[in-house]
């Protein structure tokens, strides 16, 4: 069955839909966590430490966190590999452009591929910046996420990279969520408006929620 799914364009889209929804679920949890930055260093750092102790005593220290990380890496890789293979196939299926061309489909739809690449690069930068601290500006402090976040968004490039990526994320979710519903066969004529509304609301809330953090630092509300 795995073979049938992976070898079919419809099956590969299913892989994209499922992995996309897993990442989307994670992002909802992520944005809720991020917004705690508005309640001060104490609450934000406490939340960050709690992430390592989730599930104790059943789970060992950091086990839950690592489990989530493994699931996310699998989802990202599955999503990216499917997207790459499907895109190559799509480009091969339409090698010649029309002389009388015009933009096809909506902006969100047309930017799925480039938007996805931007998001992939962003994730690498984001992890190197705030998880490992490799490219962090102004001395990365392990265990002090509040200060690290303030440092990142005190640089102009930190803000630019982050805000551009979050706008790309919003567009990606806007088309991606609705498309996932179609791929998984849950869309229908009667549900279409509801699904499009959910996609737009999710895209808007996640983008606004994530951008609220750099805006907070820039305006001095978070410092």
């Amino acid at each position: 069955m795995a073979r049938t799914v992976w070898d079919s364009t419809v099956g590969k889209k299913t892989v994209m839909a499922v992995s996309g929804l897993i990442m989307l679920l994670y992002l909802v949890a992520h944005v809720i966590g991020n917004l705690k930055i508005y309640f001060g260093a104490g609450e934000f750092n406490h939340y960050a430490h709690w992430l390592r102790t989730v599930g104790e005593p059943f789970m060992h220290y950091e086990w839950t966190l690592w489990l989530i990380r493994v699931v996310l890496v699998v989802a990202v890789v599955a999503h990216a590999v499917s997207a790459y293979q499907l895109s190559r196939r799509d480009i091969k299926a339409r090698p010649q452009k029309y002389v009388h061309g015009r933009p096809r489909a909506s902006y969100a739809t047309r930017t799925m591929r480039w938007g996805g690449i931007i998001l992939g690069l962003f994730i690498v930068w984001h992890l190197l910046d705030l998880t490992t601290g490799t490219v962090h500006s102004g001395g990365f402090q392990e265990g002090h996420p509040y200060q690290n976040v303030v440092d990142t968004f005190s640089t102009w490039y930190g803000n630019v990279i982050y805000i551009v990526a979050m706008l790309a994320l919003g567009l990606h979710i806007r088309h991606g969520f609705w498309s996932a519903a179609q791929t998984l066969g849950v869309g229908s004529r009667t549900r279409d408006r509801a699904l499009k509304t959910i996609a737009n609301v999710l895209a808007l809330l996640l983008t606004a929620g994530f951008i609220a953090v750099p805006v907070g630092v820039m305006t001095g509300v978070v410092s």
């Binding site: 069955m1 419809v10 091969k92 029309y98 002389v99 489909a105 179609q182």
Partner: protein, 249 residues
């Protein structure tokens, strides 16, 4: 009406093609688009030139033979087939670009004619339905809910012209294949082969080198018969169901 036509000319499948410019005069707004091309071809023949090759048959919008991408739109600016498109949809002095369907699964044979036999092979992959032939069965023997009958009829309207493939930026045949699958899969008469039909037709669709669906919706916008985009969703649902079922058996 006086028009400037920029037409894709290509000698044969292996030749390099290019756009050629022609002027046509004395076009009536009541002519169909194909009649306008007939007028051009008569002039070309009189001048001893090679007429423009294009597909056409019934000229009443039901056979699916005519094609043409007109000013970037499959079947032109109106939501109908090219044969049912009339010159009143254009203005005197317009320049019109006429190109063949573009997809690697639909290679150009000559000028504006493409080989759409990939569609026939997708239909063949669907196989037959196990229905007794002979005299017509008693109408009440197999009850079909009204909603299902309507849905089947809506999908059966597909004439297989290929506008969906031509309009799709990925050259995907999802709308065509879904129309053909759903047409039979919603009916009790199509139920015995419900799983094999969707699995085989989707496999053949991939085999032919069509692209995948990115839900741009261009196909449903171009479809002269109004096959809805949600048809693809239904096909995906059928495919997932059949894959799960075949994994169990």
């Amino acid at each position: 009406m006086k028009l400037t036509l920029r037409v894709w000319r290509q000698k044969n499948a292996d030749a390099e093609g290019a756009m050629s410019t022609y002027e046509v005069d004395g076009i009536s707004p009541d002519m169909s688009f194909l009649e306008m091309l007939d007028t051009l071809n008569e002039e070309l023949i009189l001048k001893g030139e090679d007429p423009v090759a294009f597909d056409h048959d019934c000229r009443e919008g039901i056979c699916g033979a005519c094609s043409l991408v007109i000013d970037g739109d499959a079947h032109g600016p109106e939501r109908t087939t090219t044969c049912q498109l009339h010159m009143r949809s254009f203005r005197d002095g317009d320049t019109i670009d006429i190109e063949p369907w573009r997809a690697s699964a639909f290679p150009v044979i000559k000028d504006l004619v493409v080989d759409r036999s990939a569609f026939d092979r997708i239909i063949q992959a669907g196989g037959y339905i196990t229905a007794p032939t002979g005299s017509a069965p008693e109408a009440h023997a197999t009850p079909v809910p009204k909603a299902d009958a309507d849905s089947a009829f809506e999908h059966a309207e597909c004439i297989g012209c290929g506008a969906c493939v031509a309009a799709c930026p990925n050259g995907a045949a999802m709308l065509f294949t879904s129309a053909k699958i759903n047409h039979l899969n919603v009916l009790p008469q199509g139920a015995p082969e419900r799983e094999s039909r969707v699995l085989n037709m989707v496999a053949q669709m991939d085999e032919e080198g069509f692209g995948g669906c990115t839900l741009t919706g261009e196909c449903a916008t171009a479809c002269p018969k109004g096959i809805p985009l949600v048809s693809i969703t239904s096909m995906n649902k059928e495919w997932l169901r059949a894959t799960r079922k075949s994994a169990r058996s």
